[in-house]
Amino acid sequence: MNALRRFIVVTASICSLSVTSAFAANAVKTPDFETVKLPNGATLLLMERHDVPLISFNAVIRGGALTDPENRLGTANLLAGLLEKGAGSRDANAFAETVASVGGSIETGTATESISVAGSFLARDQKLMVELLADVLQRPRLEQAQFEALRGRYIEFIRAAKDSDRSSLTPIYGAATLFGSHPYGRPVGGSEASLAAITHSDVQKYYQDNVGADRVIIAVAGDFKTSQLKSSLSRAFSGWRKAGQPMPSVPKQPDITGRRVLLVDAPDAVQSYFWAGDVSVARKDPRRASLDIVNTLFGGRFTSMLNTELRIRSGLSYGASSRFDRMAEGGSWEFASFTRTEKTIEAIDLAFATLDKLHEGAIADPQLESAKSYVLGQYPLGLETASQWAYQLATLEFYGLDRSYIDNYGDALRAVTLADAKRIVSEVIPPSQQSVLVVIGKADAIRDDLRKYGPLTEVKLADPEFQPKS
């Protein structure tokens, strides 16, 4: 406790000396953009940025893993991969060659709530860009042979991931355990077992049911004339059908009351990779600035409480961090770290003790001011390029937010009081006894000691599912 106090005093004296002007610096506002709603439900967002002759786009399709058939997890992700494997008049080879030959890029991806198709082309290739994007979304070939090859590869990608950086796997096991059968717990890429069960017709059906004009937001930023691009995009997308099915509603999140443990056995591991989380608030939560401040202080930057304890002061780990994952109807708050096998319990105890300290009132004015300055100072770095703006516009539209989400963020941060931060700690951040704990590590060495954290379920890393069988 003494050491912590010293830390606080040092920070306080520094802040009072030199932090004053950082607030004045943040001045990034959303540049003007135009919104077009087509009669079939498609939304177009256009923002001219003429500094460089380039156009970036970000097309988002509502659905994602949420709309995977329950026993076919990973279908949306497979469909996303297949979209660029041949579309319109081009087979997969011709499509790849066309994109590469103009130095363009088209990348598809999947998240819990959406599929995205993002990329960029030189301004002079605007016409080709619209054609390719329209083909990918409206006329993907979804060929059987491409499907088989891609499904096989995706299964192997999961196996390969289990042979590398295990810290990237804990959030997948974490969400699966935390949310259980709730759709927010679905592994976005599916599992080895669920992918093996998906058929070609499942993917075709998914496309019919879940991809269509009423589900799509197309955000474009860059070097174009709005009137011209608006008319070519409108022409390309106004004839598109709607998705065959309505969006499913998201059920209520489970309540976590106690603490339980999932142990994932990796017999050859020399470190234990741990993750703890609880269900949490949604994207539209009006307390965003306070949430960001509190998370920054606990685990969102280098000098955060968690990294200070697990890395800087104890040397237990190379890193420790926390984050919110906020979605439309809820989400999670989680922290993660890792340490060598023999230190597993010491490190997890320390992480939970640090969370306890947060609840005991570790945040005071100096830290609050420091975190405000930090978040504000870093915010413009995500608002620099056309592709970042395309992403931001699509995100605002997706969650039903407007430009004030960006433009007023600085003011919202400045307005956060110590009482606001403390309220977030008590109302939103879970106490250490209320969480799901996931540990990937050498089970024989840590199993018995882990039981003290709560009822323990054990699976093997090599098992073909992320979700423990219950």
Binding site: P53, R159, G300, P380
Partner: protein, 455 residues
């Protein structure tokens, strides 16, 4: 390349970014100001006012290339110690002051260089200069912090190498590829050396390499070059220069035949890696080698992806990159196999593709595609202040001068089909490579029989 912290990208989502047109001049290129302080420190400033922020990169010319047995990993460990206190500031204060002023920092170490990075609102400019000067001049070593940080680095090694099959195999291939040159040393360090560095080693290292005349400082963003140079004169110029460090004189002797290394690990998916001796950063063949590796592995239309992944289905991915630093580095190829994959078959198919490119060269269309991709990536890299600082520093320190950055589009245009075939023939020879295979060990009874037979 080994970095200080993984927290870095938490706030910065955003996707890849492209920028100006193919043949255009780099916008703002003429605004780059270059100066050298009286103590020999080089400064480059590139104003870019899209956002009210600044990226600062301090490139120190020291990496694992400057290490010897006993102190492997020291350059990287030193990178960690540069955040851990000076005679004026307690350990941790550097980070606290920066973050309280809206700044984030990180650092990375490679074979050749150690680079310190700060990203901050323009209002923090003078504070950043004061802090950077302080640690360059007054670094101190607290024995307790050294021990704690030793464990941090060991944890980083376990994450990247010991618990990662790609990392484990790559370390072995790199150590096998070099018999004389220190590029064979893993930047993270061998475990026994991580456990045994001393404070004296750190002090010697600081005195030898952390001199202003061994640094190139890059600032890109919302700054006035005159103000930056004035601040550099105020804070950095008073730091005395040192005698230049001893040159690395060892030249890797020519490789006379293929080398092989095997790693046994309980692997779900086998791995095959290839490392060919390549080129240095100032080698004029760099643009041609860049385009050649793109023809082979960049995108779904590339040769190795199409043949190994799509057509023969022998691998699930085929990637490459090459290092080009002060001395000739390695050209790497990485194959990941499916669970029941046959490493020998994948290797044979890979070798066949390499031999084909040596014998028949590349098509006009392939060259044109690779060139478009290279140019697009070049502009993507320059779309952010961070990317500009990285690119400017890479060219200034490792690739023969920062002005060459602005020549890159022209350099790609000048490359011919014959250049690609020639560079393939010169470098991708079988006798010039090391092959590494990672797979599960044979079952225990089989192993015993074999050992018994040998006896």
């Amino acid at each position: 390349m080994i970095t200080r912290s993984r927290l870095s990208r938490m706030m910065l989502w955003g996707l890849a970014l492209l920028a100006p047109a193919t043949f255009a001049q780099v916008p703002g290129a003429k605004e780059v100001r270059a100066t050298t302080l009286a103590n020999g420190m080089q400064i480059l400033v590139w104003p870019d006012r899209d956002i009210p922020n600044v990226a600062l990169y301090n490139w120190v010319r020291v990496g694992s290339r400057n290490e010897v047995p006993g102190i492997t990993g020291l350059a990287h460990f030193f990178e960690h110690m540069m955040f851990n206190g000076t005679s004026k500031r307690a350990p941790g204060e550097f980070d606290q002051v920066l973050e309280a002023n809206g700044a984030r920092n990180n650092a990375f170490t490679s074979d050749d260089v150690t680079v310190y990075q700060d990203w901050f609102p323009r209002s923090a400019l003078e504070t950043v200069f004061e802090l950077e000067a302080d640690r360059l001049r007054n670094l101190s070593f607290d024995p307790k912090v050294v021990e704690s940080e030793r464990n941090v680095v060991h944890s980083e090694r376990r994450l990247r190498v010991d618990d990662s099959h790609q990392g484990r195999l790559q370390e072995q291939v790199q150590a096998t590829a070099f018999v004389a040159h220190p590029y064979g040393i893993p930047t993270i360090g061998w475990p026994s050396d991580i456990l045994s560095w001393s404070i004296d080693d750190l002090k010697t290292f600081f005195a030898t390499y952390y001199a202003p005349n061994n640094c190139t400082l890059i600032l890109v963003g919302d700054v006035d070059p005159d103000q930056v140079i004035a601040l550099a004169k105020k804070y950095l110029e008073p730091i005395p220069s040192h005698e230049p460090p001893k040159l690395v004189k060892t030249v890797e002797p020519e490789q006379l035949g293929e080398r092989r290394v095997a790693v046994n690990a309980e692997a779900q998916t086998p791995l095959v890696q290839f490392a060919y001796h390549g080129i240095s950063g100032s080698d004029p063949r760099r643009p041609a080698l860049d385009l050649l590796t793109r023809v082979l592995t960049d995108g779904d239309a590339s040769r190795l992806h199409r043949s190994l992944v799509e057509e023969q289905k022998l691998t699930i991915s085929a990637d490459s990159y090459f290092t080009a630093g002060f001395d000739p580095g390695l050209i790497w190829f990485f194959l990941s196999l499916p669970a029941d994959g046959d490493a020998a078959k994948a290797e044979a198919a890979f070798t066949q593709q390499i031999e084909r490119v040596i014998k028949d060269g590349v098509t006009k269309e392939e060259l044109a595609r690779a060139r478009s991709q290279a140019l697009a990536d070049f502009w993507r890299g320059l779309a952010t202040i961070d990317g500009k600082a990285q690119a400017l520093g890479t060219f200034a320190v490792l690739q023969g001068g920062h002005e060459k950055l602005f020549d890159a589009p022209r350099a790609y245009e000048a490359v011919t089909q014959a250049d690609l075939q020639k560079v393939a023939a010169e470098l991708l020879r079988q006798t010039n490579r090391t092959v590494g295979v990672l797979s599960s060990p044979p079952p225990a009874d089989e192993l015993q029989t074999k050992t018994g037979g040998a006896e």
